[in-house]
Amino acid sequence: MYHIILVYLSLSKILPGEHKGMGFKSIVRELLAIVLIVLLWKVLSIFLSSPLFPGPDKVLLSLVYLLLKEELLIQLGITFSRVLIGLFLGILTGFIVGVLVTLSSFLRDLVYPLIVFFIVTPSFAFIPLLILWIGLNDWLPISLVIICSGFPIAYAIISSSKNIDPDIIDVALSLGARRHILVFKIVLPMALTHIFSLLKLETSHALRLVFVAEYLAISSGLGYLMAKAYSLLRVDEILAIIILLGFLGLILTYALEFIETRIMEKRGFMRH
């Protein structure tokens, strides 16, 4: 679902006519779609009449009730801060590793297989190991996010340097650019598009990782609240948390889209 939203957001920038922004008609159509889904949900809940399938009104009430309780906002803040800290440290680490590897062919031979290893290994496989090494504290989800977002960022920088038009590299070299100038003035700025695409995917990935770590091992955060709701069979609360998680992901994605658009506009990558 989350990836569908991401693809939709990306396509809405590419498809002709869509870049002009959301017109009144498209806003109405989108609202209509939400209303139809909620109506269908309500009809189904009446038809099924089961405590395992509460209607939208009940879920909304639970959501308001949870929001009014201080605990939910605190747990939301905890999850959010874990995602942000993890992403920040991951991006920083990935950036440094990526730049160092691009600067040195010796380092590339040394580190590149390791980077690929971390990318292809399922992120969740690190959870048991990190529980044993780090323990059940804040650093468990944070370090998971660092590992799982840092290496892809490093990979994005390295692979971008390979994908740049060879003529651009040739011209830069003929104009006197040494390797470090090439990396900082040409490769990194041109890798931005690639890095941002990956970052949007990694943000959703980070949210999933933090949630799973909280659900499985830590007694704080939205994951923990979900585990509690599940143990009490509170389906309305489970749905309310799912909606909240979706919104959290949307906010993060929109924030990244905003930053990306501003930077890309400033850097001349957008035609309009």
Partner: protein, 341 residues
């Protein structure tokens, strides 16, 4: 000014290329697609691996990195840095040379004015037309005031006005600063207007290097998309801007494009010649008949060699077969005349 000597240069495209480019000259490298023209430029720029040796003013330059070669390179694709404005693109090489901000800005301003792109200085490449991009790329290559200027197809895909403008800029820079220029092209017009020496490169092999006279003798043989003949002007119609030229085996009406008289070179691209298979050619001006002697396949493009007396005419094959008798129409507007002197 740099004299460039290439001695037995070989790599994945070039085969044993030996070539001398005199200092301060404009050396045109002409050849069909895939001949190795761009590769030759990259070898000179030190951007590609090769076997053999390069000498700059007699000194071996094989291990000299590109940034020390003092070159300006204009690639066919322009390769503007998309994340930099026009001004930043031009300043890039100047900053790398260690010039102060004011000094670099002064030089960039001069070249932007020379190329008429001052009003575009804050624009990004994505927001420029093809012709404007070419001008920026040329300004960037010229701004570093190189001793060697490498131009890869600088006129391809440009409107006539832009071609003339860029031609004039290159000429002006050459007169003022005398850099050694290697101009790669597959278009004969600009090659003849600008060139002082010529190299014909085919399939990575240097088929000819030298002056204009020998160039024409070899062009018909090695460049099937070009027809060039040594002819004489035998009549001039100043009122209509036309002249009559007599070549070895036929006469043509051609536009009077220059003030030369007597011996001239007449050229027409092979794809501009219209073929009539059943001797119907009307109006009869510039209609010449001949017999298909050979069909050559150059990179998937079939060309027919039509024999008219002792002269070969290259045309697009379009299903012609050896032995076919054809009528060829040389459209007046597509014929170019160059003074031999």
């Amino acid at each position: 000014m740099v004299k460039i000597e290439l001695v037995k240069i070989s790599n994945f495209i070039l085969k044993n290329v030996t070539l001398t480019i005199e200092n301060g000259s404009i050396h045109v490298v002409i050849g069909p697609n895939g001949a190795g023209k761009t590769t030759l430029l990259k070898v000179v720029a030190g951007l590609i691996r090769y076997k053999g040796h390069i000498y700059f003013n007699g000194k071996k330059a094989d291990n000299m990195p590109p940034w020390k070669r003092n070159i300006g390179y204009l690639p066919q694709t322009n390769a503007l840095f998309p994340h930099m404005t026009v001004l930043e693109n031009i300043l890039f090489g100047l900053k790398n040379k260690g010039l102060s901000r004011n000094e670099a800005y002064g030089i960039a301003k001069y070249y932007m004015e020379l190329l008429g792109i001052s009003h575009l200085k804050d624009r990004y490449p994505l927001k420029l037309s093809g012709g404007e991009q070419k001008k920026v790329a040329l300004a960037r290559a010229l701004a570093v005031e190189p001793q060697i200027l490498l131009l890869d197809e600088p006129f391809t895909g440009l409107h006539y006005d832009y071609r003339v403008f860029i031609y004039n800029v290159i000429k002006k820079v050459h007169v003022e600063r005398k850099p050694t220029i290697i101009l790669v092209t597959h278009e004969i017009d600009e090659a003849l207007k600008l060139g002082e020496k010529y190299t014909i490169l085919v399939n990575g092999v240097n088929k000819y290097s030298g002056g204009l006279k020998g160039f024409f003798e070899n062009a018909n043989k090695y460049l099937p998309y070009i027809n060039a003949y040594k002819c004489s002007i035998i009549g001039v119609d100043y009122e209509n801007g036309l002249c009559r030229v007599k070549c070895r085996d036929f006469e043509l009406i051609a536009p009077l494009t220059s003030n030369c008289s007597g011996k001239v070179i007449v050229s027409i691209p092979s794809d501009k010649i219209i073929i009539h298979r059943f001797s119907a050619c009307y109006p009869k001006t510039n209609c010449i008949s001949g017999v298909v002697e050979e069909i050559v396949n150059e990179h998937g493009l079939e060309q027919a060699v039509v024999k008219v007396g002792d002269t070969n005419v290259n045309v697009l094959a379009y299903g012609l077969r050896v032995g076919d008798r054809v009528m060829m129409k040389f459209p007046v507007k597509d014929i170019k005349i160059f003074c031999i002197s």
